[in-house]
Assembly symmetry: C2
Homo-oligomer: 355 residues x 2
């Protein structure tokens, strides 16, 4: 049976990427070797790394005041690494408490300096995005989570602030056009919209680095990684290669304009189906509903288990809500075809009609 | 032309591992999905993680006083993470300065507490292993590099010390039988003897944790990783899977006894060839010569380039010495077949005969 993969991450990748990745494991680029056994300082791999870094910048339309790093670890590592690089013990950084991941970032930052929560949507179970809050001009930076994978909210306008803006874009990177130059740091674990698990992309405006007194361990120091061309130590070779393949697929498919169009089409279909069927409800403020992760519930919660069972039976993978939230979560990343959302909404309709 | 892969890391993996890894990218375990798109909290992956952790313990014959973690990052991350977890600012840790990697570990440790160098072979270009040195009983631990990939030395006897012993075994893990219970922490980047780049294995005696005053960022805290069953955040799924495949291959091939027998056979052939041909010389103390990485030179250094050219022409990959050392380096990890060493030594002999 055909599976429809709505996993929240690691998640669906383009078929062509999977095929090229499998081929590279057998033999990489006529090298006579597998991608898993090539040296990371040979031209075979340094070419991959350089192309991937350049493509990130190209897709984001950023100039040379930015650098791009592929780092070990997921976004969770950045929760620590960002304040370690940017925040001295006697300084304050501003954070938006946007959900599960943002609150983890706040906890890690508080070990390095003062983490000031300037906006929180915790009062309403993280069902909306704060707007119009103010940030002290003395704050070293403002950190937001641009898309909340667990709760299903998304920023559609970047906060208008005078301090450097930092965004965890793990679950919506490369899913839409935006002015990326508004951000001083953009970071993302690769395993949702841009590759497999095991690598982190970090885009940094170089001028914000080198301004703290704290000594930084080499392996955590963004400046040292920039000097080393993102090859300070053995990188996660295969994960970087899969990211490159995915970035090339994005570009060849029409770039961020096409990713955005497709994502609007898919998410509109899903949300309009939810709203049209009284058996389902979505608690997220309409203007803040994520195009990546739709989180919704059955009005009669005794129907949740039968609905999830039906989904499983029909090959719909990964639609159970996050463990602390419950309900249903449908993730619609770049590689998810429209036909999967059509199949899912058809299933919702037939379930609604059957009860 | 057949390639002989002597890469120092990432390096050769067993053919069967490469084949199984490529298959898992097409479809993993009859899931209808690729290994790259499965959820890390589904039984598909939690089973992989548990089996890999258990196999590490089984191969090392360790009891439940130890735990096994698969962590993001390479060994370089551990240079920082170990003192962060074990060394308070007013405490001292003892380090052996065994080569390039050990000296990097010392630098990172000195940011967290006092890093005391108790032995160094720098005086003779890291061509031997120190023995019989003493370690203050007040030291929190002693750190050694059990095999020096760059310089070509290896410990054949663990230092006899009363403080907890920590070893970076990145380049000789699972290559021989030993009493692993002498160590309190063993760590290794996977990309030499146990898998692909992008994951780190850490074996830890639990009783040494939880004894410092410093607050540790969640993502760096070994105890938190143990509590989370090595699934605190999205792990490098594919790299963990390749490590599992490699561990299974080691076990099925006869375990550490067979890895050791094979490694003695391969390295003896190479070193005896070096010693028998006056054109080559190895500067490493005979009793400390690494079975993993043989580092040697041509007596007439104008012959180095022609020899390396010949190697390239004959499909011998990765035999150029490390950039700061020069000469020739031949890595003979677990997956390297004897026939590759035979082919290489035949080439050495014909080169010697030709000049």
């Amino acid at each position: 049976m055909k599976k429809h993969n709505f996993n929240s991450g690691p998640s669906i990748l383009p078929q062509i990427v999977m095929q090229q990745a499998a081929e590279a494991i057998v033999e990489f680029n006529n090298s006579g070797l597998s991608i898993l056994e090539i040296g990371h300082r040979t031209p075979f791999f340094t070419g991959v790394m350089e192309e991937a870094r350049a493509l990130v910048k190209e897709l984001m339309q950023l100039d040379d005041s930015y650098d791009v790093l592929f780092l070990h670890g997921g976004a969770t590592t950045q929760f620590m690494q960002i304040p370690m690089n940017l925040l001295d013990a006697d300084e304050t950084a501003a954070y938006c408490d946007d959900g599960v991941w943002g609150s983890k970032a706040i906890k890690e930052a508080s070990l390095f300096g003062k983490a000031l929560v300037v906006a929180s949507s915790k009062d309403k179970g993280y069902t909306y995005i704060n707007k119009g809050f103010t940030v002290p001009t003395t704050a070293k930076y403002l950190h937001i989570t641009s898309n909340n994978t667990v709760e299903g909210t998304q920023y559609f306008t970047a906060p208008d602030v005078s301090v450097p803006l930092i965004a965890d874009m793990s679950s919506d990177i490369f899913s839409r056009q935006m002015d990326f130059s508004k951000y001083s740091i953009i970071y993302a674990g690769a395993q949702k919209n841009m590759g497999a698990a095991g690598v982190n992309v970090l885009v940094v405006k170089k001028e914000i680095l080198g301004k703290i007194k704290r000594p930084i361990p080499n392996i955590m120091d963004y400046q040292k990684h920039i000097e080393a061309g993102s090859l300070m130590n053995t990188p996660p070779v295969f994960a970087v290669y899969v990211a490159l393949l995915t970035l090339k697929w994005i570009k060849a498919s029409g770039g961020l304009a096409e990713m955005e169009r497709s994502s609007i089409e898919k998410s509109s279909l899903l949300y309009s189906t939810i709203d049209s069927l009284p058996v389902f409800n979505c608690k997220i403020a309409v203007e803040d509903r994520s195009r990546m992760n739709a989180v919704f519930f059955l009005n009669d919660n005794t129907l949740e288990a039968p609905f999830l069972d039906l989904c499983k039976k029909e090959g719909m993978v990964g639609v159970k809500g996050y463990r602390t939230v419950g309900g249903v979560r449908v993730s619609m990343y770049n590689a998810l075809p429209l036909e999967s959302v059509v199949a899912f909404t058809d299933l919702m309709k037939s379930f609604a009609a059957s009860i």
